[in-house]
Amino acid sequence: MKYFFIEQIKSRRRQLIYELAGWSARCALFPAGMCLVVLAFLALCQVRIPFILVIPAACWLIAGIVLFVRNFPDLKKTAVLCDQIFDGKNQFTTALFILQNKVEGEFADCTVKWAVERLETARHAPRYFQERRDYGRWTLLFVLTAGAIFFLPQFTEEAGLGYSPAEATRDLHEEISIRLPGKSPEPENPRQNPAQIHSAVSALKGVSHEKTSQGKVLQSPASDNSGSPHEAASGGSGDGGNTRPGASSGKERKAGAAALMPADKPPAGKRLNSGNGGSTGISGLQNAENEESSLSDGGGDNLDKALSEEPENQRKNQRQNARGGLRPLLRDNAPPAGRELSDKDGHGDQPGDGRGGPSGHKKARGTASWLPVVPIPDQVGGKLSSGRDIEIKEKVPPREADAGISEPLPRRDMDEYAGRRQDATRKIRLELAKYYLQMHEQNQSIKDSVL
């Protein structure tokens, strides 16, 4: 019975291993294969594929191997899985524990027997990893989505359907060199040339700039103004519409430039600026737009003047914006308002001299100052308090000279004191005797006894 149970468990373990291998393969090989299929498709389209794109496929293969190793079932794990699959109520785990630890007893045998009977009856149990098949679908979806996000921009760029700012600038340089053969292309740094600033700004908004023979810079609208103004200002990488003349072909730009010779002035009221959205958010761009919109109504005569003043205005606006926005200038050069809460006395707000003490009536602070004509003096006359008493104690060490004070006084003769007391008593007696003698002159015996 015990041997039969072990064999049953091993058989179930083999079945679980086969299931696990299939599941791991589905989870890993399928997405890895899809990655390779996408790479092959791109290769057929003659798209240059960097080697790094092969790494995702390799990662999926490694993930599949890791999944297989982590979930590889041993005998104990097989028993646990059998308890879950066949509702064994931990009996298979207990039976395996009994057999591995050689537990003896009636109840041990009974448990093993029950587990064997249960395994025999559970022949058509559902596969454990069957419900985990969804992992393959989710990984496939993830791979396709990631591939679309990653590969599609490069694919559209190669086909010339996408927009690239670097290419627009490069095309512009080429045109300049074509139309003005003697003039070298402007330096790359647009800040050194105001015209380049304007051209770069307009290029971002999809307006091409052409230079006339006099060196004036004219704007040409988009080759097809059917698009909305905001489309030209938006920066959609996936937008391959015709509203971006900056990236249009060279022939279209040349045709547009020829149409804008000095004799051909743009009609009044025609909007040259197709990018009124101003979504770039730069104040310089906004001012450039304002200038351009005013130019659209005024014709080309003021164009040069406006363009020359434009960089200076841009710099001024940038400074003002750095200070938090446009502010009025202090033309009168008046001193700033004073913050001293002191009486003016007709001299204005003068700073204090730094000396303390009472300085006259001051402005009141606090709640009472809300009430009008309620003077609250800063100082109230009164009686000065006596202040507090300060008692300082210091310890004085005893001096050597004071040591003699502690010696007792010399003892005096007590008789000396007794004699003085007897003399006083005698005197009092004599006085008393005289008194009695005066009182009793007739009694001689009394006189003798007293004397």
Partner: protein
């Protein structure tokens, strides 16, 4: 074969168990699960705390149980003036046959198989603590004498959850000695008619004796032979530890609502009760399912909820269900 003997023993156990339960249900209507839990605690050699409003048959339940098992039964009505000597017994002065006097120890009502401690929360803590040694050691000590209590010995205490004025809540040490706590509620509508049929008429239910004390002891020993695998014991340990805030297995439920959780006695109680449930299910080994079934009666009185839990109106049963739901069988 040994397994046949075990199977036969299990079958005998189940038959006696169901017989006792059927006899009890002749007088105690409804609450079938409660009776099963009570008997399971008896088979696990544990004590029971029953909480319910008056008039639900708590005393009748214990009396019927004692009649079914033909065991001695004592009822102790706890009052505020009850003293420990009134329960344990005391030494009295008696006159012997020669006319002299002698001291003799008179045993109290605690010396019996089944003790019904009615409204135990009305007794003073001093009197309540007199039960501690009896419940733990199955003996009582008085003066120079130590009295061994008869086996099987079980204390079934009752308390009223609504009248808390003038009561003394049981201390945690004593609560921990009760293996399970059963909450008895109102019966179902159909049970009311059965109660009327059996109580207001002239007929009286005749309760037969199913088992003797020795058979109960044999059943208790049989229940202890049920095998518990390390995985299941580990699950019981993790379940108890998940009720202790701050432990490795405690989740947000325990950390936010519990001051202190169950201890080692709870683990012992879980495994012992689970063994009885396994035998009732016809198995020779316990399962995690048995642990979960025993969790609520064993743990509900061992959790000390904090003020926030009381403020939110959260009960121990609700928290335990949440803990059980979030605890996986395998670590």
């Amino acid at each position: 074969m040994n397994d046949m003997t075990a199977a036969r023993s299990i079958e005998t156990f189940r038959r006696n168990f169901s017989g006792i339960k059927n006899e009890i249900e002749k007088t105690f209507v409804g609450h079938s699960g409660l009776v099963t839990d009570l008997l399971a605690a008896l088979m696990a050699n544990g004590h029971v705390l029953i909480e319910g409003v008056p008039g639900l048959g708590k005393t009748l339940l214990v009396k019927t149980l004692a009649e079914t098992l033909k065991l001695s039964f004592s009822r102790i009505q706890f009052t505020p003036d009850l003293m420990p000597a009134d329960i344990i017994g005391s030494t009295v002065l008696l006159t012997d046959s020669t006319g002299g006097h002698c001291l003799k120890f008179r045993e109290g009502p605690l010396v019996a198989n089944f003790i019904l401690a009615d409204e135990i929360n009305r007794g003073t803590p001093k009197t309540q603590s007199a039960l501690l040694e009896a419940m733990q050691e199955h003996q009582v000590s008085t003066g120079e004498k130590t009295i061994i209590l008869p086996e099987p010995f079980a204390v079934i205490a009752t308390q009223n959850p609504i009248e808390q004025e003038g009561t003394y809540p049981l201390p945690e040490a004593e609560l921990d000695r009760f293996m399970i706590k059963l909450d008895i509620g109102y019966p179902e509508e159909a049970d009311y008619l059965k109660i009327l049929d059996r109580t207001v008429g002239t007929e009286k239910a005749d309760v037969k004796t199913i088992c003797t004390g020795e058979e109960i002891i044999a059943m208790q020993k049989l229940a202890r032979q049920v095998i518990s695998a390390p995985e299941v014991e580990n699950y019981a340990v993790r379940l108890v530890m998940s009720t202790q805030p701050g432990s490795a297995y405690a989740g947000a439920t325990a950390n936010e609502n519990v001051i202190w959780g169950a201890g080692p006695r709870a683990v012992q109680a879980l495994v012992l009760i689970a063994k009885t449930y396994a035998i009732l299910d016809g198995r020779a080994a316990i399962a995690c399912e048995d642990i979960r079934r025993a969790a609520l009666p064993v743990l509900r009185h061992r959790l000390k909820l904090n003020f926030e839990a009381h403020l939110k109106g959260r009960k121990a049963d609700e928290l335990l269900k949440e803990i059980i739901r979030n605890l996986p069988e395998q670590p």
